[in-house]
Amino acid sequence: MLALLPRLRRFAIGLSRNPVDGDDLCQMTIERALSRRESYEPGTRLDSWMYRIMRNLWIDERRASRRRSQTFVSEEAGAFIGAAGAQDAAAELGDVDRAMASLPDDQRVAVLLVMVEGYTYREAAEIVGCPVGTLNSRLVRGRDALLARLGETV
């Protein structure tokens, strides 16, 4: 597991968009993995199992924070505030980070797993828990959006 840490951090920072939140996500992932290690099936890939835990934790956290914002403001206003916050944060980031931040969660996950972490479509689909075709189409939409933002000639 120690050898996996740098890669887990990369995925976590890619998801969270900054090192501080990324390392928090990493910590939660390790704790969850250790507390549920009996659910790991020997003979299967440890890295995929950890990525799946991390991806699920992050999706849960994103949903929870959306619910929190909806508790106080209308959905529309919440979305607006979320977008404004994201833009402020994004102003600090480079082009790639900004473009990644603009992607919907599912597309961001697909892009990171395949294009950064180097998983095959099938492996990435297993981590996400969706059909390969779904993964493929999320990936394509994510890619097209990134190409549009970063320019065709990246």
């Binding site: 597991m1 120690l2 050898a3 996996l4 840490l5 740098p6 890669r7 951090r9 990369r10 920072i13 890619g14 390392d23 990493c26 910590q27 390790i30 704790e31 250790l34 290690r37 009996e38 790991y40 020997p42 003979g43 299967t44 890939r45 440890l46 890295d47 480079g94 790639v96 980070d97 892009v111 990171l112 395949v114 294009m115 950064v116 180097g118 095959t120 479509y121 493929n136 189409s137 990936l139 394509v140 890619r143 097209d144 990134l146 190409l147 970063l150 065709e152 000639t153 990246v154």
Partner: protein, 233 residues
């Protein structure tokens, strides 16, 4: 021939089956627009991976490492008995006793501690090894090897053992060898996650914490075995 956007991306990633790959390749070669699109996909992939690559070289924050070092561990085993001069085992006090059983190995296994109930007992090969094998005389290729024996503070005999995919410490009571610590191999693909072993030292440290006095020597082990590892008989 029509090439969908999905197919074009999959082609760029080398994800199409062979037949389709050849077809798309031909279409791309014949169409400058498609060719540009493929180049853009590949450039994007290169840009993203370059962008995130430096994270791999950053030091992992201490708090993350510590989390793992306390709770999981890596133990390496000897596949073949090797000379002591190559021993990598370096737990300070008991190394000389456990050394032969832990001689440097080429096979490294990532072992994760298992939750064990308070009433888990060793069975099968492990129980047989704990009952019968002596550290000094056990065969080098025994499936489970005993690393050392000691008495805990209550006087019970305890033994640390390791096998190809498990390791642990068990103590003898009226019912059998009760497992105190148990690690199992969680390495999916060994080649990919080879690591230097620190877990054996961890197991030894745990044994040292539990023990009263030092590890048993050969004569003491022999005597304990002849009494069925019962403390007072």
């Amino acid at each position: 021939m029509k090439v969908t956007r999905e197919e074009l991306a999959a082609f760029s990633d080398g994800e199409l089956d062979f037949e389709r790959h050849v077809e798309v390749e031909r279409a791309v070669a014949a169409d400058p627009d498609l060719e540009r699109a493929v180049a853009a996909h590949r450039a994007l992939r290169a840009r993203l991976s370059t962008h995130f690559a430096p994270i791999l070289d950053e030091p992992v924050p201490e708090r993350l490492r510590t989390l793992l070092q306390h709770k999981s561990s890596v133990i390496d085993f000897d596949k073949q008995r090797q000379s002591r001069s190559t021993t990598r085992f370096n737990a300070p006090r008991w190394g000389w006793i456990a050394g032969p059983a832990l001689a440097a190995s080429l096979i490294l296994a990532l072992l994760i501690p298992r939750e064990i109930g308070s009433e888990s007992y060793a069975s099968g090969q492990v129980a047989a090894a704990l009952d019968g094998q002596l550290v000094a005389t056990q065969p080098a290729d025994a499936p489970v090897r005993v690393m050392l024996s000691f008495r805990d503070r209550a006087g019970a005999y305890c033994r640390a053992y390791s096998g190809a995919d498990q390791a642990g410490i068990a103590c003898k009571d009226a019912h059998g060898w009760r497992m105190i610590e148990h690690f199992e191999d969680a390495t999916a693909e060994r080649g990919e996650y080879r690591q230097a072993g620190s877990g054996q030292a961890q197991l030894m440290m745990r044994a040292q914490d539990m023990a009263s006095g030092s590890a048993l020597n050969g004569g003491q082990e022999l005597q304990a075995r002849s009494k069925g590892w019962k403390p007072h008989s």
